[in-house]
Symmetry: C2
Subunit: 374 residues, 2 copies
């Protein structure tokens, strides 16, 4: 974070208009969710530990991967203290609504699906009790044991109707691309509960998931980051070519933290190939880009930095950003995007779509309570 930015934040400079931040990582300590687990798992944990895959590269579960100043005064893990989150993020940046995306994805890469299901339920209940009940600006994401789509659907039906749960969330690391029919019971439940299905980069190559690239495992963290958009691209191609959006036309999918502009050449090429090859997948009735524009949304952080404004505008246009892109900060991770600096200057209409309306429409969030002026 730039020095000027820290200064601005300390002054609590209000943004003129409130915004929606669709990716805020609150942190739940495993010990805190233990009381929410069935006795059998508490006993297993006492005997064998938590049995979760470790970080091979850096990720959000590691304290040093957080913003330098995001540790709360009580010394707890960044993102774990609601009062401090209010002071550091919600108030100064004038966040009308923030979508909590958690940190406890690791259970989604466990080979033990029942255990993962118990952990997800505990995480979801803890989020409802300790976050959503205490701060009306915050909305929640339903963690699911995606190893077992039927258990996932059960969890979506159990907690998804909670009025402050606004989406279902999974890590992008997976055994199969998410369009695969294996996962369709999840989408049936998402549509039934009217919840978007959000894929957040994480867990690629960990636990039971496939190696993190189509050429096997990478060695280093920056290399791992460079390969994250490609995993998301695989999921997107899969949703389209498996016909998920024909089977579930109202399903919305959110691609989170994988960048934005890679989508432009990816969609151009998919559209061209679809023209030549659609006889193999006749259930894919529209151009791939049409499904993207109607059914997929993308969060902004980390936006690829463009070399000039002309290509920035061209690429924003190519991905139809005024309908598809939603601002997010990724608080409190080290590569946090301040809403003051996340984008080059946007036209007012586009700013309004990206910083509020696209998220409000997707998540069914109300209009602003007031437009605050300094």
């Amino acid at each position: 974070m730039e020095a000027t930015e820290i200064k601005q934040r300390e002054k609590r400079t209000k943004m003129k208009r409130s915004i929606i931040d669709v990716d805020i990582h609150h942190k739940t300590e495993l010990e805190d969710i233990k009381p929410y687990l069935p006795r059998a798992y508490r006993d297993q944990i006492d005997l064998w530990g938590w049995r979760l895959p470790g970080s091979l590269w850096l990720n959000g579960g590691v304290k040093v991967g957080q913003m330098a100043d995001s540790t709360p005064p009580d010394g707890s893990f960044p993102g774990s203290n609601l009062e401090f989150m209010r002071k550091q993020l919600l108030d100064p940046y004038n966040i009308e609504y923030g979508v909590l995306t958690g940190t406890e994805y690791f259970c989604q890469a466990s080979p033990d699906a029942d255990y993962a299901a118990a952990l997800c339920s505990a995480i979801n209940d803890f989020t409802c009790d300790h976050w959503l009940a205490n701060e009306s600006r915050l909305k929640g994401s339903v963690f699911i044991p995606k190893q077992d789509p039927l258990l996932s659907a059960k969890e979506i039906r159990r907690i998804g109707s909670h009025p402050d749960m606004v989406q279902v969330i999974v890590a992008s690391g997976a055994e199969k691309p998410y369009g695969n029919r294996f996962y369709h019971p999840i989408y049936e439940a998402c549509v039934e509960q009217d919840l978007p299905f959000t894929i957040h980069v994480l867990l690629e190559g960990l636990g039971i998931n496939a190696p993190n690239t189509g050429a096997g495992y990478v060695s280093y963290y920056p290399e791992y980051r460079a390969c994250r958009p490609q995993v998301m691209a695989a999921h997107l191609a899969s949703f389209i070519y498996e016909g998920v959006f024909e089977k579930f036309p109202t399903l919305k999918v959110v691609l989170q933290e994988a960048g934005v502009f890679w989508l432009a050449p990816f969609l151009w090429k998919m559209d061209e190939d679809w023209k030549a090859l659609r006889f193999q997948t006749p259930w894919v009735k529209k151009k791939p880009s049409e499904y993207f524009f109607s059914n997929v949304r993308v969060s902004s952080q980390p936006l690829e930095p463009t070399p000039n404004m002309e290509i920035f505008r061209q690429l924003m246009n190519a991905v139809n950003a005024s309908e598809t892109v939603m601002f997010c900060s990724d608080y409190p991770h080290w590569d946090f995007d301040s809403p003051l600096m996340a984008f080059p200057k946007l036209e007012d209409d586009l700013w309004e779509r990206v910083f509020y309306q696209n998220a409000a429409e997707l998540y069914g969030l109300p209009a602003r309570k007031a437009q605050k002026e300094e």
Copy 2:
């Protein structure tokens, strides 16, 4: 292929200036290379067959994946008849030099590295004897058993000094990303023989290679195609972050048939992350894009179709096309790019770089013999 284009080709309309085509798939029937194999393998083949992985999706080894009119008059496989290749490709398109890239990659995904090495030697010898010896416009690619980098280096040293062998070639499907230290003996031999290392899309997810995406296997051919650039992206990130271009500063790497414009946002983001994270890989001394510009070349087919000329120019500029992009046709595959239609209109200087000079410099090919005027 458009009707007008076929007509133009039938008329043998000469292009004004000759060109270099860096990706021409000649085809060698396995039965034809059998005499080049050691007796032990001929016996095994008689007993057990060829033991090569089959196509899970479509690819260049399947006859229906070829241009509709590319079957030679003798009924042989497209790309297997030199005389017909002259008539259909080399003469009408005024190809000064063409780089043969073969079709027999499948041995590179066999678990039996010695057998793969024997097959590669046989393929290379057959190419020298039946193609390079008979047509001075054609240049060859050294197939290597990349499962075993030491055997690969041996093959590069055995045949790489042949005056018409201009590069080493592998399929993009791999057990590990190609920057990994496991492969470095290959690059030592490439540098010693002054041969570029070319990665051609193919074999992703087949045989012993990793699943074809970072989220496992896809189901369909268009989906598989959509995911090919991502495998190439993983290899490129790997070359850069494993420090290959610091260890082998004269090594040139060619990315073939994975598109071009995805590179722009990929490089922008890698550069940004490098600034923040290079402490983990201090041997990566320059921005990732600098290594790309100095050590990597890209062939053109299949170029992502851009929605307008302004973004086309911006993206050509972003990848520094005047130094990095080389035209190729991918003859005789179904998605063949005619040099008359492969690009929107290029400025003359840029045309000259893309259609001749970049390839001539990379492969050490002479200047044009003559500039033919109609």
